[in-house]
Structures are given as C-alpha cells and as structure tokens.
C-alpha cells in the first residue's frame, strides 16, 4: 500500500539529503573510502525510491527531484577513467600514430586533393600571369611587384597585419576549421584543402615567375613540410567525419558520427603539439636572414622526416608485442 506523498517524502528525505551532501563533497573531491561505500548504498536506495515514485507518484515534484538526484549520483559513480599523464604518454607513443596508420586512406585522399589544388593554382598562374590577380592576395602581390618577400618585415616590424604574420597565426584556425568543416558532409574540408592548395600553388608560381624562387624557398623551407603535413592530416580527419555522415554503414547515422568523431579528433589532438612547435619555427627561424637558406632547408627536411618517421613507425613494435593478446582479449 502506497503512503500518501507527503508522508513518503518525510520518511525518505533524510537519506536523500545525506546523498546530496555526499555528492557535493564528492565534487570537491574530499571523500574517504567509508563515505564512498555510504554513497553507493544511498544511491541504490534513492534508485529504489525513484522506481517507487515512478509507479505511485508519477509526474510529481518528488519524482522529478529523485530523477535528478539519481542522475547526479549516476554521473558521479560511473565516471570515465581520468586521463592522466601516463595516458597522454600512451596516446603519443601508440594511440595517435596507430590511429593515423589505420586511417591512412583518408590522409592519402586529403593529400591528393591538396596537391590537386596546388597544381591547379600553380598551373593557372604559370600559364596566364593575370590569373595571379585572382588567386593571390593583394598584399602579397604588392610585395612581389616590388621584388621583396612579404615576410621580410616580420622581424623588422612593419604593419602588424602583414600577410605573413596572418598566415602564421592562422595555422591553428586553418587546422581546426579544416577538420570541423567535415561536419558539412566533407564538402567544407574539400573546399579548405583545395582553397589552401590553390593559394599556396599560386603564390609559389608567382614567386617563380618574378624570379623570387630563392626567397620563397628561404621562407617556406623550414616549416613548410611539417605544417602542410599537419593540414593534410586535419583534412583526413575532416574527410573521416564526412564519410561517417554520408555512408554510416550498419550503424545509425548519429552513432556512426559519434564513433568516427572520436577517432578523427585523435588525429587533430595528436597534431596540436607539433603545430605549436612548428609555429615557433615559423615565427622565429623562417623569416629574415638570421639563418642561411641551406640551414633552413636542412632543418625543414629533417623535421619533416622525423615527423613522418614518428607517424609511420611509432608504436609499431609494441603493437606487435602487446597488441595481439590485447586484441584477442577485447
């Protein structure tokens, strides 16, 4: 026989209040083992009370209160494992490169699209010089017309909105947007890849035409290989998202999206520290003539080789040693 609602609330309320107090202290992170046991017991009792209210007092405030209380306790008890430093180390030692190798198809497709844009931009400008007016930003064209690199002024402090510093600070934005635009069915990512490719291709072709090949290489050699790789990888992640949207396979679209999203973001997160490092190189080494061109070229090539060596090799031997039993266990 069900009690009247007020009597039920009066009878059970002390337990609920105790659970609320424990949850508040759990958020502050100050619980002892004994109290955790109490928390568990109280949660189970509250869950039973919730079932009771669902049957006898549906739609009342008491019902909604218990819903919420159990929701909070559920969140507190079934927490995901905390990400700690060992997890970060594992991520970079194995998870990130292995994920990248598994999704190499997408990175390859992204690279192909990017190179297509590159070729397109370069060919248009080499073929028809006036194409540069269309494809190259006006600021860059002014500098090139004067026979100077637009990047010379970064260290000697000219207008702060100079194009080169814009490019430098935009790297993060470009990477993130290239990935995130995958949400538009992959079209946004394709657009970003082609667009970036065309711009870079057009600028390099313009420099070659104007006899500034040396200056251009001088600027781009140190950071170019890694930076462009990162953009291509982010593009691959965006394409993964787009593929999940268009062709979710056997899963419902929402689930496929969430699943692929988790994988794709690993690629972007993994690139973040490298992007920061290469940003330092771009801001500090690339502009000006502090370093001779051959040093920059050597640095850029070795950084690129290191980066791809890491991506293609890291976690390999460990996967062979520990991966097989882990796979069979799961």
């Amino acid at each position: 026989m069900a009690l009247p609602l007020p009597a039920f609330v009066a009878k059970r309320r002390p337990d609920w209040d105790a659970l609320q107090a424990l949850l508040a202290r759990q958020k502050a992170g100050a619980l002892k083992l004994e109290e955790l046991r109490t928390l568990d017991t109280l949660y189970r009792r509250a869950a039973a009370d919730l079932a009771h209210t669902q049957t006898f007092y549906p739609g009342t405030d008491a019902h909604r209160f218990l819903n919420q209380l159990c929701g909070q306790a559920y969140a507190a008890i079934y927490q995901p494992p905390r990400e700690r430093w060992p997890a970060v180390r594992d991520f970079f030692r194995r998870d990130f490169p292995v994920t990248l190798r598994r999704e190499l198809r997408f990175v390859g497709a992204s690279a192909a699209v990017f190179c297509l844009g590159l070729l397109l931009g370069a060919l248009v400008v080499l073929w028809e010089p006036r194409g540069a007016e269309l494809l190259v930003p006006a600021g860059v064209r002014q500098y090139v017309a004067q026979g100077r690199m637009w990047t010379d002024d970064i260290l000697s402090m000219a207008p702060p909105n100079s194009v080169a510093s814009g490019i430098a600070t935009n790297n993060l934005t470009v990477t993130i947007v290239t990935f995130a635009l995958g949400m538009l069915g992959g079209l946004g990512t394709l657009y970003m890849l082609v667009n970036n490719g065309v711009q870079i291709g057009a600028i390099s072709a313009l420099c070659i035409r104007e006899g500034m090949t040396r200056g251009f290489l001088d600027f781009i050699a140190a950071h170019g290989p890694v930076e462009l790789s990162i953009i291509v990888i982010a593009g691959g992640a965006g394409l993964m998202v787009g593929q999940a949207l268009i062709d979710p396979g056997e899963l419902p679209r929402g689930q496929a999206l969430a699943l692929r999203g988790r994988e794709a973001v690993k690629l972007v997160l993994g690139c973040a520290p490298f992007l920061a490092c290469i940003g330092v190189v771009e801001g500090y080494v690339s502009p000006g003539s502090l370093f001779p061109t051959w040093v920059k070229a050597a640095l850029g090539l070795s950084l690129g080789a290191l980066f791809w060596g890491y991506l293609l090799r890291a976690g390999n031997s460990e996967a062979v040693r520990t991966g097989a039993p882990a796979d069979s266990a799961s």
Partner: protein
C-alpha cells in the same frame, strides 16, 4: 500536466532504473555561452590593462616582442579561448562556469559523463557552429534536432541536461499556528496529482491577488474536500482557514 512531451534524455542505469533527465533548451545554452564569453572577455580586458600598467608604451612594447614571443602570445590566446571549455567540461563534471551558473551540464548520449575526446570534438566544432556568424549554424541545428543538439554535439555524441531547483520543503512544511480544521470528516485518500495541485497552490497562495486566491481555494476545497453546507462555509470563511484545511487534507495519512 507535468508529463507533457518536453525533450528529455532517457537513461537506463545498471540498477535497472529508468532516469528521465530534462534537456537544456536553446535559451539556457545561449545564456551559459554569454556568461562564459563575457568571462573570457573580462579576463583579457584585465590582462590588457595589467599589461598597460606595467608597460607604458603598449604599441611599442608589442612591436618589440620577438617573433617567438608573438607566436607564443597568439598560441596562448588561442589556447585560453579553446582549452577553457574543454578543461571545464572534463575536469568539472561537464560544467564550465557559465553552465554551472545556469545549472546545465554536458553528458554523453547515454547519460554518462563526458571524456576528453568527446569534449574536444564538441569544442573544436565551435568553429563550424559559429558559421556564418554568431552561432547561426549551431542555433539552426539546435532548433531542428529533437534534443537541442548543435553540430558539435551531434559529432561528439553529447547533449546538455538541465538541473532544476526543486523544493521538497513544500511537502513537509508545517501549517501556521492557525487552528487546523479537522480534515478527517468523510476523507477519501487523495491521488498524487491532487496532492501536487494543492501543494503547488499553497506554495504560491501568498503571492496571489486576494480574489484569485479566494476563488482558487474554493475550487480546490470543492475538489478535494467532500464537504457540504456549514462545514464548507466555515472552511471558506477566510483564506487562512481554507489553506489550513487544504494543508491538513494534503498531509492526511492514508
């Protein structure tokens, strides 16, 4: 009734209890974002003025920074803008400062707390949700999806649930000292809906206009009282007596 089909999230816990959590709508989310955005804005404002106090020639000082320092500044600015959300959601139980102020919280689609990857996905996607300006894409997506999720939420498999402030005191509140009218009479047990109705009225009675207060009290007495003639007239003599009667009626032990 309360059971109107507002958007909600159904969770089946391992304890075999079905939770139903209310989903936060677009209004809550916009307000929470405003709180967070103004917080970040004021942080940079304060940082700027602190910097200005230390260095008199701001423009000159900014230009004197080396390429390295400039890059670090830009990267740092970007990190505070972006890390803020993810750190808040991962380490503070799915809540940034703004979400805490509004009482909303990010959870996975199955009701469990978000992890690092989910939070990173949904916050990286702010770039897309912001398109073309002022979160237009995100808002349209929220209006179109059943559980008010923006594109980033769809990709990460997350959503926002609301925490309501529910006052249980109304169930246990003692009647004021006024003489309680016996409610035992021809009492039948009230249904939970009626108890809820009466308690909701009692909680708000103080703030109602006198005539409304009297009229609603009368209706409720007629519905739950089962009184007639003199007893009814006596109960309706003053609002205090009416409410004391209703309180006694709602709290009657079955």
């Amino acid at each position: 009734m309360h059971t109107a089909p507002t958007p909600h999230l159904d969770v089946a816990t391992p304890e075999r209890v079905a939770l139903t959590l209310p989903v936060a709508g677009i209004g809550y989310r916009c307000l929470a974002w405003l709180v967070d955005a103004s917080l970040l804005f004021f942080f940079w404002l304060v940082a700027y003025f602190a910097f200005t106090l230390v260095v008199s020639d701001v423009l000159g000082a900014l230009q004197a920074l080396s390429g390295l320092a400039r890059t670090l500044l830009v990267v740092g600015l970007f990190a505070t803008q972006w890390l803020y959300w993810t750190v808040g959601e991962v380490f503070f139980h799915g809540q940034t400062v703004g979400k805490r102020a509004l009482g909303i919280r990010v959870v996975r689609a199955d009701g469990s707390p978000v992890g690092l990857y989910e939070s990173a996905v949904r916050n990286l996607c702010r770039a897309v949700d912001f398109l073309p300006m002022a979160y237009a894409a995100g808002c349209i997506c929220m209006l179109l999806t059943r559980q008010h999720r923006r594109l980033g939420d769809l990709l990460a498999g997350t959503l926002l649930v609301r925490e309501e402030r529910i006052d249980l005191d109304k169930y246990t509140a003692q009647a004021p000292a006024a003489a309680a009218v016996g409610a035992q009479g021809a009492a039948r047990a009230l249904t939970p809906e009626e108890v809820e109705l009466v308690l909701a009225f009692l909680a708000r009675a103080e703030g109602l206009r006198p005539d409304v207060r009297r009229r609603m009290g009368e209706k409720l007495v007629d519905r739950v009282g089962g009184l007639s003639g003199e007893a009814r007239a006596a109960v309706l003599a003053s609002p205090e007596r009416t409410e004391a009667f209703l309180r006694a009626r709602a709290r009657a032990e079955g």
